[in-house]
């Protein structure tokens, strides 16, 4: 289930020129600066990370997994002391994902909705990074 879903999300993001123009040069072996789970160490900033945070089946009409209820984290990471660029990407991600349809192989999309934002700075060895994105609730049915 997750494979088809993440391919659908990736496809949605990778196909948007506006978003990709906001991102850094893709790492070697990648065509877009959009990575699942973890970016390669050579990835240029800023980039997008996405991953499933949670997945729970929901019973309906006697079917214990009639609905799949998932929470996906989709965020930008930039190496900067300013959140401006990361927040611009965060905003574009919301345009692309919030209440927008997804074509997921093998299942029926019901809705995908922004639930809450995820914003925080990170400092590693004196270098500041900015994370900005959102948690999206994705509901699909059999």
């Amino acid at each position: 289930m997750s494979v088809a879903t993440r391919r659908a999300i990736y496809g949605k993001l990778a196909g948007d020129t506006t978003l990709n123009n906001l991102l850094g040069t893709p790492a070697s072996g990648y065509t877009k600066s959009i990575y699942h789970l973890q970016a390669p160490s050579t990835a240029a900033f800023p980039y997008v990370i996405f991953q499933k945070q949670s997945g729970t089946p929901t019973e309906a009409f006697g079917d214990p997994s009639a609905l799949e209820n998932e929470v996906w984290l989709v965020k930008a990471i930039d190496r900067s002391t300013s959140a401006d660029v990361a927040e611009n990407i965060q905003a574009r991600l919301a345009v692309l994902l919030n209440d927008q349809s997804l074509s997921i192989s093998g299942t029926t999309w019901q809705y995908m909705r922004r639930q809450s934002d995820v914003d925080y700075p990170e400092e590693i060895d004196g270098v500041q990074y900015v994370h900005a994105g959102s948690l999206y609730r994705l509901v699909t049915s059999d």
């Binding site: 789970l37 991953q51 997945g55 729970t56 929901t58 929470v71 984290l73 190496r79 990170e122 590693i124």
Partner: protein
């Protein structure tokens, strides 16, 4: 033969707020427990810092972190160098499904 029916509504009304607070507390404590079961453990500091705060009538917050474990958001949502290992959102999603059963248990005594 006659029967007298006495309304329990005033008693239920009087107890309802406290009972709903008890439901919220039970849900929060269950979420805290589920988060503790899911969090990755290296030193145990973060696991030990997951706690529940009473923030108002019928309101509880499950908090991961304190002055000694400030990195819960990095574990939950990821670092530049390490991917996210979520524990709080999955705990909440798990317990969300248990809320009706928890509420039923607490409210049965009304």
């Amino acid at each position: 033969m006659s029967a007298i029916y006495k309304s329990r509504l005033p008693q239920i009304e009087a107890e309802l707020v406290a009972k709903m607070d008890a439901v919220a507390k039970a849900v929060a404590e269950r979420t805290e427990q589920a988060a503790e079961e899911r969090v990755v453990v290296a030193t145990g500091r973060l696991k030990g810092a997951i706690h529940t705060d009473h923030t108002g009538e019928g309101e509880y917050s499950v908090i991961a972190g304190d002055n000694n474990a400030f990195y819960a958001h990095i574990i939950e949502h990821g670092s530049v160098h390490v991917g996210a290992r979520p524990f709080l959102v999955p705990a909440l999603e798990q317990v969300r499904q248990e809320v009706p059963a928890i509420a039923k248990t607490v409210l049965r005594s009304l």
